[in-house]
């Protein structure tokens, strides 16, 4: 080999560098409500009752966080998620006022309000790079697509690298499905039924099969479980698009549009709010949401978060003396409590 190659000089090219952008982090993000259309139509009294009931558990979550954080000075932010994907809520100005007032009367403050459709639709670049002309910028991907790309399926026993990724059906499970049981045409008799199996079963299986999306004439419709999984990863500050942060919070504009889609995905309602993203996420909700959140956990157990992002967040936690679980699902906590007569997503 040539002698010139042994010289000590090194080339550094920034494009060959795989750095990821960092985001401000609170210790804890507390979700005070996830509202669907049937609930969003309720009056202020409904929300005051909701936030009063949530408030009791919010205090408990606060105390638990204070006890965990060194020097007892926790950074906590609150958020609510509204569904503008499956339904169309009232105009932003009316709804935001109603939610804020109700929370205030119940002694809570909503720091951030988030639009669920932001997880599903292509997000406009928040801070366009002035050096990059808009027309040549790559079309953005939705957050749901970014998460879908990172799915690494839980392999059933006897799977090697030869197993192709399924990924084409829109369904994700935690084991092996039961074979189809319809009559086999050629054989004219039913195939023998076999049970499904969970891959990491403890004695007996709890098999789950989750619909992530469905493609229809109007394009792809993401499932509630998939969008909620994206939402949890976003809160935990673990999503990046080409190394850049996504869905950064924006202050509430002075003039509110009539259309939710014209607003940024994450709206900062409280000027003094601590960071939106957090090491851990606490969700306080009605037991009605347990199946969805269980599906969220099953999905997130199969999402391979960028190791560079995990290392970055883990390193910052270590520097602050904060204990942070290695596995992403262990960073999410739940309180399933009676939050009043909540209707949830409804059948539509």
């Amino acid at each position: 080999m040539g002698r010139a190659m042994r010289a000590d000089a090194e080339f550094f090219e920034t494009t060959a560098d795989a750095r990821v952008e960092s985001v401000p982090l609170a210790h804890l993000s507390v979700e005070l409500g996830h509202f669907y259309s049937p609930d969003l139509r309720q009056d202020e009294e409904f929300f005051i009752d909701h936030f009063r009931r949530i408030g009791i558990w919010y205090s408990a979550a606060r105390s638990a966080c204070e006890a965990m954080v060194p020097r007892g000075n926790p950074r906590i932010s609150t958020c609510v998620l509204i569904d503008d994907y499956f339904g169309q809520p009232a105009s932003p100005s009316a709804l935001i006022r109603k939610l804020r007032d109700a929370a205030g009367k119940a002694g809570l403050e909503i720091d951030y309000l988030v639009r669920e459709s932001g997880c599903a639709h292509t997000v406009a670049k928040v801070d366009p790079d002035p050096a990059e002309p808009v027309e040549t910028a790559p079309p953005g991907l939705s957050l749901a697509h970014l998460v879908e790309a990172r799915l690494v399926e839980d392999p059933p026993p006897n799977s090697t690298g030869a197993r192709p990724p399924v990924g084409q059906t829109g369904w994700l499970c935690n084991g092996q499905r039961s074979p189809a049981t319809e009559t086999h045409e050629a054989m004219k008799r039913p195939t023998v039924w076999r049970p499904p199996a969970e891959n990491a079963a403890v004695n007996h299986s709890i098999f789950e099969d989750i619909e992530l999306w469905r493609d229809g004439p109007d394009g792809r419709l993401w499932s509630c479980a998939m969008l909620a999984a994206v939402w949890q990863l976003l809160r935990l500050g673990l999503l990046r698009d080409n190394g850049r942060r996504v869905a950064a919070p924006h202050p509430l504009p002075g003039d509110l549009p009539d259309n939710w889609r014209a607003l940024p995905m994450v709206l900062q309602l409280n000027e003094r709010a601590l960071p939106f993203n957090a090491y851990r996420a606490m969700t306080i909700c009605a037991p009605l949401f347990l199946p969805v959140e269980n599906a969220v956990r099953t999905i997130l157990q199969q999402v391979a978060v960028d190791p560079a992002v995990l290392a970055q967040v883990g390193g910052r936690a270590r520097d602050e003396g904060v204990a942070l679980p290695l596995e992403v699902v262990d960073r999410m906590e739940y309180l399933f409590v009676d939050t009043g007569p909540v209707r949830g997503a409804g059948p539509g």
Binding site: M1, G2, M5, R6, E10, F11, E13, T15, A16, D17, A18, L141, H145, L146, E148, A149, R150, V152, E153, D154, P155, P156, P157, N158, S159, T160, G161, A162, R163, P164, P165, N174, N199, A200, R240, D241, N242, G243, L300, Q301, Q302, V303, A304, V305, D306, P307, L310, L326, E327, V328, V329, D330
Partner: protein, 316 residues
Amino acid sequence: MVLVLGEVMTAALRHSGGMPRERVEDALGLLAGERVRISERPIGYAVSPKTFTGVDCRILARSGAKVRGVGTLMGRACLTGGRVLQSSAVARIDPVGGGYRRAWSHYLARLGVVEALGRTDLPGTAAAHLAADRSSSTMGMGAFCVRLLSEIQGSPVLDKSTPVRARRTVLRWAALIDERNEGVRVRFAVREDGLRTVRLVLGPAEIDDIVDLCEDLALHDWLLTALMSVIEQSQIGVEQPAQSVLKLRPAVDHLLHLWMPAARLGGVALSVWEGLESRPGLSRQWDASVRRVRDQMAMAAALSSSRPPESARFFR
């Protein structure tokens, strides 16, 4: 001691022209939302984002014993000089006590690691990996490499025509890392069935550096194989020099400038290359082959310029 196993597949990119940056990004963008890293110096080089696939299967140790391995294989692809495409499958084998499989999130918090459940003999596992049939690679690494390579070769940005006819080669490698080791020992072999094997025993090292090194070895082994195959097809001494030269031309156009051992690499790679050059002398064989190509070129040029075509027959 740490054991890392891998396999590298090397082929000519199925594209005839040059590859501008955006096309390279499209072709190698295996993961939405992740960058393709590109560098231009000292040689054009692009590497895909890392991608992972889950495995839960038997791993063979030399003693014939098998253990269950659960975890993920890391896969990636790279393109050198806009011409040579490679895909890699890699896994670190971590023996763990207790014979049961954990929740999948446990394995996704350790990407690129396969946990061997039960008693595992690491040197034995390395030997079995290198000794296995070409078609039965450990944990389906070969099939994973094929899948990555096919995905890229099938990209719509490529015109599917290959200017250099050369076989796809497979290099299978095992690296045993031990803190107590000083320096590095390497054994490079070309087996009868065409499989290349590399066994590395070395001190503390980054896995990414070892992957880079093995891909670099596979790249140069492929270049040499491809050049020799072009020379063979050109039938030097049988055909007219002008005819031979026509057949040698793809090598001159597309291969000769790509030979740069360890060009982008540091410490470990340099000493491995130095070790390899002292014995099999890959570069010596390359230099000799390149001289042969250039001599043919020079002779053909001399013949065509100094003699009228009819008198050239005199030399037949």
